[in-house]
């Protein structure tokens, strides 16, 4: 990566010679070689997003009855059915995004099933088995970020609708730079907005005003980088890896400061999103407003991609083993399939517990999955709402939706939930239902990775290894 010493010094001279002035600084490519493709060709970069929820689904109610390009027709006559009797992908039909979504059913995470929830997440996001119970290495989003994200201001962005650390306002994630380095997810839309669209964001067409402090801030980072390098000489292997990551984050901040003084690239759809409220009120049952929080994140992600602030995001809407209590159920006070009254207390229990304790055909769990799919549809619509060229942002990306198991009650790894929205610039087929009979789910990940620009010929390890993508979903 190009060092920034020269430009900073010349800028400083400029500042010292007179007052702060708006000047067009060296072309972007000097700092961001990764962007040259986009700028030179006038095209749009490919992007990758993950939409994750915890605790799986119910395969028998998930799989569309129709295969192929007309899978949405599975739901054509379900509008009049009671909410709880609709198929789990009904919300994609209802929101008219079924033609954007390729549904892959019947595939299996092949890796070892040793730890409930962890094994599925490890298998789907790394293609390999857990290593002694913990995530084995780099997750797919971070591998993609290494390939296509290093040229953007933010290498990747992680978010969640759930808070699991109240002080940090962060949430769960399966995004790992390596086994010891998990990326926490931002759980406050407002904090994320502030971070990437706050005072430091320059809207397209706006001219950056050179703030002499930016150059000084880079000098500060230089000094800190020197400290890190000196410390590195003394440490062992594990700490060296930690400090390497620290140092590369420092470098990324230096580059970001450099870019602040440059003219922003003019992507036509780039703008600042609506500023989300500082907090979203809980309902009278102390439950979060999932729909509003998710919508705020969806808008920020869509516009962060539109502005090329990042090319990779992962939205861990709810975490593995999530105990989130979902909003009101339609099935409240109803009876289950066996005509047994549903335990009234169940309606106030958390998602994970419901997947294990709710008897019968699990009407509450089913409604939760419908709710999850509503949020996925909302995120797809947010991406489709950003025009790019003759199409939309969604055409230039893949928004991959999955969970940490299929049937939550059993943590099943067969019949894995796999949905792909977008075609990654025409590389992937959109709007089909491919029904597999137990193929390796890693094949889908390889297809996605190749489609978004990660140059690999195999994905996964041990039983999860694949050397070929899933041709049925490739163009």
């Amino acid at each position: 990566m190009a060092r920034t010493q020269i430009s900073r010094r010349s800028m400083l001279r400029g500042v010292l010679a007179g007052s702060a002035v708006a000047i067009g600084l060296p072309a972007l490519e000097i700092f961001y070689p990764g962007r040259r493709d986009v700028l030179a060709q006038g095209g749009f970069p490919r992007r990758f997003g993950i939409f994750f929820w915890g605790n799986g689904m119910i395969p028998s109610r998930w799989t569309p009855t129709v295969e192929g390009a007309d899978w949405g027709l599975s739901y054509a006559d379900q509008k009049t059915l009671p909410y709880g009797e609709r198929g789990q992908l009904y919300p994609l039909w209802e929101n008219d995004v079924h033609q954007d979504v390729t549904v892959v059913t019947g595939m299996s995470v092949m890796t070892a099933s040793t730890v409930a929830h962890g094994s599925g997440a490890s298998g789907i996001f790394s293609g390999t088995s857990l290593n002694n119970g913990s995530f084995p290495g780099q997750s797919i989003d971070q591998r993609v970020a290494d390939a296509i994200g290093s040229g953007t201001i933010y290498r990747s962005i992680e978010t969640s609708c759930e808070v699991n650390n109240a002080a940090a306002l962060t949430g769960p994630s399966w995004s790992f730079q390596d086994a010891n380095s998990q990326n926490p997810s931002a759980a406050s839309p407002h904090l994320l907005f502030d971070r990437i669209f706050g005072a430091n964001f320059v809207e397209p067409g706006g001219t950056p005003v050179i703030d002499p402090k930016n150059a000084l801030r880079r000098s500060v980072l230089d000094a800190v980088g020197d400290d890190v390098r000196r410390l590195q000489r003394r440490v062992g292997r594990a700490d060296k890896t930690r400090l390497d990551q620290h140092l590369s984050s420092i470098r990324a901040l230096e580059l970001r400061l450099a870019l602040l003084d440059s003219n922003p690239p003019s992507f036509a759809s780039c703008r600042r999103p609506t500023e989300p409220p500082v907090s979203f009120p809980l309902d009278r049952e102390n439950r979060i407003d999932l729909r509003k929080i998710n919508a705020a994140f969806a808008e920020i992600h869509a516009l962060a991609l539109a502005c090329d602030l990042t090319r990779v995001f992962s939205h861990w809407m709810t975490g593995s083993v999530s105990s989130l209590r979902f909003p009101e159920y339609e099935a409240v006070n109803k009876v289950d399939a066996a005509n047994q009254p549903i335990d009234p207390l169940l309606q106030v229990s958390g998602h994970h517990q419901l997947t294990h304790d709710e008897p019968g055909d699990q009407p509450y769990v089913h409604e939760i999955v419908l709710n999850v799919m509503d949020q996925y549809a909302a995120m797809i619509k947010a991406m489709k709402g950003v025009p790019e060229g003759n199409g939309t942002l969604l055409d230039n990306m893949v928004l991959f939706a999955t969970s940490d198991c299929s049937l939550g009650r059993q943590h099943r790894l067969a019949d894995y939930p796999i949905l792909l929205a977008g075609s990654a610039g025409g590389k992937l087929r959109q709007g089909i239902h491919y029904k597999s009979s137990g193929e390796n789910a890693s094949k889908v990940l390889l297809s996605i990775a190749q489609a978004v620009g990660l140059q690999i010929s195999e994905f996964g390890g041990d039983a999860g290894l694949t050397t070929s993508g899933l041709s049925a979903i490739e163009v």
Partner: protein, 568 residues
């Protein structure tokens, strides 16, 4: 306490039974762990970099820069180490203190440190009180390298917990010089230099790598030792006195070390140290995630989370620091400290309108000690109902240091719904004891968990469990809380508390957890003798936690560090 302390020292200074580490050489007088049959010779574990936890970071800023500073920036969340075992199959432990010594820092985490540094530096120079505390020289002009150097030495030395090197100082002075030149004032230049110091890895990470002393033995440097002592005992960086003993190297003198540890344990700041340890050991920070339906549990509001955390910490602080109580009594103690919220959950009169005050449970009440508190009963429950598994697992793993294996992932782990024949939780988990694939692990957890069934998912006392039949009729069923642990029968939670009180695994688990917390690593096989020595010391002290802290802080394992593991 004095007598038990000196008895304890006597024990640890007893004649060496075996030469475990060869010649200790200079510095002398570190107690050698005793011989343990079958255990290998003592050898320390490698030292690591330990990232400051959020609370350690905040305490450092308050101590060094000033309590006036308000840090709004959200710092990288503290996390436990990755789940499960490491690549060698060794346990990783579950403490934030271990995670801080092994987890990597995310990109947003580094960004947050940078933001916090500017925030703190800006406030420090804008606040006249803090300004006069920091700027101890009169600058000769906008650029004054000497004055900046003096401030960097003073503030940087305290933030880094060791003297700033000339090379480092030159870097920061250079930053200040450049900034003062561009921006025109001394203070603005200093602000950037301070920010650089605040975002330096030398501040963010506690270097406990150790160093080779003259005889070739590797141990923590006096400054590293002072840092480890201070964060262990006080949860904050070293004060002037401790630092002066590090500066002149006298901390290597066993008598000085012993006196410093005694001084620190007698200081009120040890209360913060005890709180920080138990917050980590009992994972009380998980109370952040406590969520109950206010319809089912009218007393639950989000404020209960902080109340429950405070109750447990105050209870432990009073028992351990104020009373020098026997640690085992935390299970059987009839008293606790509650505010109005908790009093209503416990169904006792509130002792005070504002804040917390002491209550003593009447003898007929079953509620006792640590495990009668909301921080355990509600946190180790589901949102709507109790869980024998969660409660039992917590006791086994966190308090007894046993490892309960994970359930096989492909198993249907659903607990059957209540029926007229099986209305209570004990009836419903019956299969856990019948099914051979469940029994092995669940026998470790469920009997313990079921002992607490007289406390509902929020921690309210009850003797009956309601069951709603098909017709909507509610019937109430008497809850049985009987069981046995280690062959000893109990009738209810109070009886189990007495068995835990007498169980040797419980104090030994405290020793092990505290050693991990203090040193930032999971003990290795060659530290077995050290663990045994500390267990014996704890026992000999009458289970006085402060005495254990004293023994630990002066132990060999606390002071030595093997060289870092380099590339193979």
């Amino acid at each position: 306490m004095t007598s038990s302390r000196s008895y304890l020292r006597g024990l640890l200074l007893a004649p060496l039974l075996a030469s475990c580490v060869g010649d200790i050489g200079e510095p002398p007088n570190v107690d050698d762990p005793p011989f343990v049959p079958g255990a290998p010779a003592f050898a320390p574990a490698p030292g690591t970099l330990r990232r400051l936890t959020s609370s350690q970071y905040r305490a450092s800023i308050a101590e060094v820069i000033g309590p006036e500073i308000i840090i709004v920036t959200r710092l990288e969340p503290d996390r436990r180490p990755p789940y499960g075992n490491d690549e060698n199959g060794n346990e990783r432990g579950e403490l934030l203190a271990i995670g801080a010594a092994s987890n990597g820092l995310s990109a947003s985490g580094v960004e947050n440190y940078v933001n916090a540094a500017y925030e703190i530096a800006g406030q420090a120079l804008a606040n006249t009180t803090v300004h006069s505390r920091i700027v101890t020289c009169t600058p000769a002009g906008a650029v004054d390298d000497a004055c900046v150097g003096e401030i960097v030495d003073s503030i940087g030395g305290r933030l880094f917990r060791r003297p700033v090197t000339p090379e480092e100082r030159a870097g920061y002075v250079g930053v200040a010089r450049q900034a003062s030149t561009v921006l025109g004032t001394f203070d603005e230049g200093l602000e950037f230099a301070l920010a650089a110091v605040l975002m330096s890895p030398n501040f963010i990470y506690r270097d406990e790598l150790g160093d080779d002393v003259s005889t070739g033995e590797r141990r923590l440097t006096p400054h590293q030792l002072a840092t480890r002592l201070s964060f262990f005992l006080w949860a904050e960086p070293p004060d002037d006195e401790l630092r002066s003993h590090a500066d002149d190297g006298s901390l290597f003198d066993a008598t000085v070390l012993d006196a410093q540890v005694a001084r620190m344990l007698a200081d009120d700041r040890v209360r913060s140290g005890v709180r920080a340890f138990f917050d980590d050991m009992l994972a009380l920070y998980d109370l952040d995630k406590l969520s109950k339906s206010p319809v089912a549990f009218v007393q639950f509001t989000p404020d209960v989370r902080e109340s429950a955390r405070e109750e447990t910490l105050l209870f432990l602080e009073e028992h351990i620091v104020t009373d020098h109580g026997d640690f085992r009594d935390v299970f059987t103690s009839p008293r606790t400290f509650v505010d109005r919220r908790l009093a209503s959950i416990y169904n006792v009169p509130a002792p005070t309108l504002v804040g917390f005050d002491e209550i003593v449970y009447p003898s007929w009440m079953e509620r006792r000690g640590l495990l009668g508190q909301v921080s355990f009963l509600a946190l180790q429950s589901h949102a709507d109902k109790t869980s024998a598994v969660l409660r039992g697992r917590f006791v086994r793993e966190r308090l007894m240091c046993s490892k309960v294996p994970d359930p096989p992932p492909n198993l249907n782990t659903a607990i059957p719904p209540p029926t007229a024949d099986n209305p209570t939780l004990r009836d419903r988990v019956f299969d856990h004891f019948q099914n051979p694939s469940c029994r092995g692990c669940h026998q470790m957890m469920d009997p313990i968990g079921l002992a607490f069934e007289h406390f509902d998912a929020l921690g309210r006392f009850r003797t009956q469990e309601p069951f709603t039949d098909e017709a909507g009729q509610v019937t109430y069923h008497v809850i049985s809380t009987e069981g046995s642990l280690a062959g000893l029968p109990y009738d209810d939670a109070a009886g189990l508390a007495q068995i835990l009180h007498d169980h040797p695994d419980v104090p030994n688990c405290l020793v092990r957890t505290m050693y991990r917390y203090a040193t930032g690593h999971v003990e290795i096989t060659s530290e077995t003798r050290q663990m045994r020595a500390l267990e014996a010391a704890f026992r000999a002290s009458g289970y006085d936690v402060l005495d254990l802290m004293h023994a630990m802080a002066t132990s060999l394992g606390f002071q030595l560090a093997a060289p870092p593991v380099l590339d193979p």
